[in-house]
């Protein structure tokens, strides 16, 4: 049977009621969100269901929205059903004061390093992750660089003149 975006939306609302919201289809990919406590339940449902079969985690990343109080950090999962070639995007939002999200490592081994990278860049604390430490930056770093408030350049460098780059 044809798995269309409407069908996925219908199955999700049947199972989770009004907890899954924000259904959109930017450029053809169904995107929805759920409360952060339910992220594993939604992922498990999409994995186990015999028709939906979203068994491949394509990508896991985070986005920092500084303008949305209470929902600053979004963790975005891209899932792929390889047999029917359907993709879906699933987001959970967490406040920046308590960025705890359950870890998907038990379900997808691919999530292991992707979650470490997300922690390294944004500070999202994945509860239940076997080894949540920094992966790409130096271990001694004490801030989360990809958040919007931090600059790109190393502020302690002396050989480059910011004036010349138009950002003095």
């Amino acid at each position: 049977m044809e798995i269309t975006n409407e069908y996925i939306q219908q199955r999700l609302t049947e199972k989770f009621g009004d907890q899954v919201t924000g259904f959109e289809e930017p450029y053809g990919m169904l995107t929805f969100e759920a409360p952060k406590e339910l992220n594993l339940k939604v992922l498990q449902f999409l994995y186990d269901d015999e028709v939906l079969k979203f068994r491949f985690l394509t990508d896991l990343c985070a986005v920092h929205y500084p303008e949305q109080p209470g929902r600053e950090l979004a963790v975005v999962y891209h899932l792929h059903n390889l047999e029917n070639n359907v993709r879906v995007r699933f987001k959970v939002f967490a406040p920046i004061a308590a960025p705890d999200v359950f870890s998907a490592t038990a379900l997808f081994s691919a999530a292991n390093w992707m979650e470490r990278e997300t922690y390294d860049f944004f500070g999202v604390n994945f509860v239940g992750h076997p080894n949540l430490k920094r992966i790409l930056n130096v271990d001694e770093m004490d801030y989360f660089p990809l958040r919007k408030e931090y600059p790109l350049e190393d502020q302690t460098r002396i050989d480059k003149d910011d004036e010349m780059f138009g950002r003095g």
Binding site: V138, Y150, P151, L152, E153, D159, F165
Partner: protein, 190 residues
């Protein structure tokens, strides 16, 4: 050491390789020690290719048969710092990698030279970010910088030839001189 152009020349071509100046006679050649040592050293430099990123692939192309790095005496590239003369740092050095570069440099035995290949090793390149070291000369003294992103193999060879010039003309007492000691102290190297 400029060699005259060999191709597109009509008539006879004499390939002139400049040897050191000295007094030649029947079966002997007398010159000063440092010229001889310089000539020996420069034509048999063993590089340590510290290849981190894209410039490393251009180095692989330089070592391959098309551009043939081996004709400059670097037939054997080594990865053991003790056995190598020149540290060629090719590619971006992140702040995480900085201590590793310094360790490798410290383990090399004198006389040692350093060549920074590529824009990233020379000054950070296009990556003016929080995690990239803006040039390896922040941590180790560099002899020759080769700009480019990545530099063409001919540019890497040109840089190498400049190092060869430096090696050939170096005084045998340089490594013990005060100025050299000052340079090492400014980097915190004993």
């Amino acid at each position: 050491m400029a060699r005259p152009v060999r191709f597109n020349i009509k008539g006879d071509v004499k390939l002139v390789t400049e040897g050191p100046e000295g007094y030649a006679g029947e079966g002997f050649f007398a010159t000063t020690l440092d010229k001889l040592v310089g000539m020996g050293r420069k034509n048999s430099m063993w590089p340590l290719p510290f290849a981190t990123s894209c410039c490393g692939i251009e180095f692989m192309a330089t070592m391959a048969s098309h551009y043939d790095f081996a004709r400059f005496g670097s037939e054997r590239v080594g990865f053991s710092p003790r056995q190598c003369d020149i540290l060629m740092v090719m590619g971006t050095i992140a702040k995480k990698m900085g201590p590793v570069v310094k360790e490798v440099y410290l383990q090399m035995a004198e006389p040692r030279w350093v060549m920074a290949v590529g824009a990233c090793a020379s000054s950070g390149g296009i990556f003016d970010t929080y995690s990239v070291l803006q040039g390896i000369d922040q941590i180790i003294p560099v002899d020759v910088y080769v700009p480019g992103c990545p530099p063409r193999p001919e540019a890497i060879i040109d840089g190498f030839m400049k190092v060869q010039e430096l090696v050939g003309k170096e005084s045998l007492r340089r490594r013990n001189s005060d100025r050299y000691k000052e340079l090492m102290n400014s980097y915190g190297i004993q």
